[in-house]
Amino acid sequence: MSNIILGRYIDGDSIIHRMDSRAKLILSLYFIVIVFLCNNWQTYALLGIFTLACVLLSKIKMSFFIKGIRPLIGLILITVLLQLFFTSGGTVYWQWGPFKLTSFGIINSIYIFCRIVLIVVMSTLLTVTTTPLEIADGLESLMAPLRKIKVPVDEIALMISIALRFVPTLMDETQKIINAQRARGVNFGEGNLFKQAKMLIPILIPLFVNSIKRAEDLAVAMEARGYQGGPNRTKYRQQHWHLADTVGIVVFLALTGGLMLLRG
């Protein structure tokens, strides 16, 4: 449970922490787009150095990001292997039925690997330097124009912030229920697949029952305090666009320019 790093906030006081969540959200998305501009080692090197600089600016330990990648290693490996054995073109080194190892394949799989790592590190950077509530506020504010076409923006934002708010609570509770059932003699992670699936029942049933109970309590508590969504609702946390945010956008634009120049 405790090694899930993606989606966890680490308190800090770096320039990245202080940036506006809207800027961080836009730039994180934009980063995913410009990763696809890379097509040779110079562009990947530039983006790699840039990402490294961002990580250093956040003052969060490097080992932390490496740990964040670890749970995704399976996914990355599969993607890389597919790329490695199914790309044609260039010099063919080895072939067996539909599988072949080509020079293009090797280069492509290295690029894909870099691409995924860069995106994961940048997304982790967003979530470790921005509290879930800031992210929800940022999303709400960015989605505000959609109100014009009758998208229930406030409700969506409320749902997102409640969901994010309860992730740690649910993880905590899951751990407690697992402990209680282990104390009653359940050995998780033993036996065949069918047996292991059956072991989920003593965890999932209490978890669902509690979640539904909690949702009801929360709804009652919110109504008792007269909660009402809508655009007229004021915010406790005001968002402020600072100079650093504008600078961030400019840096990203400059980066895009650099990538365009170096592109092969």
């Binding site: 405790s2 680490i10 969060i60 330990k61 932390f64 740990k67 509770e173 407690k176 229920i177 402990n179 209680a180 059932q181 282990r182 104390a183 009653r184 003699g185 359940v186 050995n187 029942i201 003593p202 049933i205 209490p206 029952v209 509690n210």
Partner: protein, 293 residues
Amino acid sequence: MAIEFKHVSYTYQAGTPFEQQALDDISVKIEDGSFTALVGHTGSGKSTFIQHLNGLLKPTAGEIQINDQLITPQTKNKELDDLRHQVGILFQFSENQLFEETVLKDIAFAPKNFGKSESEAEDLARAKAKLVGIDDQLLERSPFELSGGQMRRVALAGILAMEPQILVLDEPLIGLDPVGKRETMGTFKQLHESEQMTILIVTHNMDDVANYADQVIALERGKLIAAQSKQEFFSDPQWLYQHHLGLPRAAEFAAQLMQKGMQWDGLPLNVDELARQLVTKVKECNQVGAKDE
């Protein structure tokens, strides 16, 4: 045959920014057949402590001896099956562990996991349900139809059905009504006296400590600050206040009288003792008064 902690430390998420030391060099012994209260503030390490008692957590340093089982940081989970059987832990808000279709099945869950046959487990379940005061007619109902207090009893029966030698209770009385509290504590006392079960109870209620326990272990920020008999533990009100632990109500009352000049023959810990000493004092006063006349 007892529980012994030798220089046990435990750190959560060692090596990450969330690292947190929950237990710090704890050495303590819990004797067989004792009724021990574990007290301390929220965050003092009580829950971490009890999770070591059946190997849900293994110490990051030091070792624990429970009956024949030695737990070190290297102990494999597989070796701890037997220990789980010997040590029953009833967690906080234990009603959250119920999941089966019927009350009976839920109580029989643990014994079945520990290798009892279906019918043996059900017999055990019926017996333990009776012991904790669950009506026979409730046994075929869904546990989710019961009231909170009844669910708590079902959970307790579910742990007792494992027939543990050591029973660990993490704040078992929270949220129960006064009658439920008294009956549940009565059940624990009965288990302790008639079956010589070793009991460790985590509680904030000093009255329960005074009324039921014989030993007290106190933790503060992961460190052991006291492990002694209940009489010794309550003998120094000043020390207790310093550590924000407080006295039982009867002792609190007696301590206030002491400030006004009353002398006690050892601070009374419960209402019975307080009443007995007061009666003696009143009698003494009467005798002195009679002589004066």
